[in-house]
Subunit: 254 residues, 2 copies
DNA sequence: TATAGTTGTCTATATCAATAGACAAATTTT
DNA sequence: AAAATTTGTCTATTGATATAGACAACTATA
């Protein structure tokens, strides 16, 4: 039968040449993924450079480039004569469900967490935003740009749109309270639900790199969500970007 | 107060040099993302090569490399003297919820869909699998490797583990029926729920590239899920990889 | 202390990635 | 028909990426 087969190439970790992604970055990504998957515990020693080079079928210097990048990112620590060690950086497990708010549910994973308002603007709604909020195309909306942080490290980057007429001044409330939930309460919105969430992934763009403090080539998880009042009226349209190397999304409370 | 600011650099699409990811691949990724975001409708003309080169601040030949890659992938069609056109390839929107099964919910998006068993094996459970299925570490489990297809194009790649004793022979049932749900029914499992789903993203590895027919450098969305019977007994532990350029995940029925 | 194993640094070479300019070939517009 | 626009092809040059080998510096261990 079909049984017993499968080459089982040690987790099938391999590497592609002339792909547009350099070998050292592919190797760095795989090491990051191994750490996040729990293959290495905190302070564990990585295999020696020669061993890694043989495993990936590349030159030792190529492995060194990958390690250098991860040392630069603060993921690894190399010590001459001893080895290269994992500084551990477990990924935050970010809960997503019908009532997900930022910060709620991250207890115990990070000691300090907050949301910072980066900028705001009033603009006509794009087609996508207008459809999400069920507004006429071109109606004015307020856009908020925010960054979520845990223990001083950026873990999310969100752009949120609200109907300008109904939520005039929400940017001031957000700047003051640092909380979407608290800001919405000032507009008589005591409860809201996540109506829909669409998830995708892509390479980080320049703005992501800057705001999330990422290295070029990093991957971001993207959620596009519509929040509604309990009676189904849309109040917020939001796109949030999470750095894939630091965050995983846990779909809970289904 | 904070209002009116924001540079608004036209969706902040920009590009990073010496990042380990070549400029042509970054540009190709952004074009793909633009198409998936609906910036271009089917058969729409892309801006001319010179215009794109100016927009990204690169040489025309670099843009040509990006376009060549996308033509190779079947996303674009270039015609001398006329322009470069989008062949459109809308992303499938793949529903995920408490009762998500493959194929369910894709009605109307693809006319033909199926799940193919690639291989199977019996092996001792890794720590991760044992914890998910609540088995003793090292207990035997059956591993199934599957590929999901829609209209002949691969849209997912799953590895699923089942307790070997309880589900002995499930690989034969799977090969025969092509359905997890149908196979489980032979073992008296008439209903099951998704207990938890954890979501992450990474670059595709060699096995992903081969099984999902992707170009090197592509991104995959990864879900790790545990399915349980209605009374909470774990029956299936699964890791599924989706090509981010072809699939988005819609979190529904929350 | 000697030895083996590890990371760090150096030189050299080949290939890929990106820039630059010129012109051909095809299409659309004037 | 002519001009303008667009993609296709060619040559040449520079910098980043990857390979190769040798040896230094440091650490742990026999």
């Amino acid at each position: 039968m079909a049984g017993q087969a499968i080459v089982d190439k040690a987790m099938a970790n391999s590497i592609e040449r002339r792909s547009g992604v350099s070998l050292w970055r592919q190797i760095a990504d795989q090491i990051l993924h191994s750490i996040a998957s729990g293959d290495f515990t905190e302070n564990a020693a990585l295999p020696a450079e020669m061993a890694l080079a043989e495993r990936y079928g590349v030159n030792r210097h190529t492995v060194r480039s990958a390690i250098a990048a991860l040392v630069q990112e603060g993921v690894l620590r190399a010590e001459q004569g001893r080895g290269t060690f994992v500084l551990s950086r477990k990924r935050l497990s970010y809960p997503i469900g019908a009532r997900t708010r930022f910060s709620a549910g991250l207890q115990g994973q990070a000691s300090e967490r907050r949301s910072v308002l980066l900028a705001s603007a009033i603009e006509p709604a794009s087609r996508r935003v207008a459809e999400g909020l069920r507004l006429a195309k071109g109606a004015n909306v307020i856009r908020l740009e925010m960054r979520g942080e845990a223990d001083g490290q950026p873990v999310s980057r969100a752009t949120a749109w609200f109907e300008a007429r109904r939520f005039a001044g929400i940017e001031a409330a957000m700047a003051e309270t640092g909380s979407i939930t608290a800001s919405l309460e000032r507009f008589s919105v005591s409860d809201y639900l996540r109506q829909s969430t669409v998830l995708s992934a892509r390479h980080a763009d320049a703005a992501d790199l800057a705001d999330l403090d990422l290295q070029p080539g990093a991957i971001v998880l993207v959620t596009v969500a519509v929040n509604v009042t309990p009676d189904g009226q849309p109040i917020q349209f939001a796109e949030t970007r999470f750095p894939a190397e630091r965050v995983e999304l846990k779909l809970s409370a289904l």
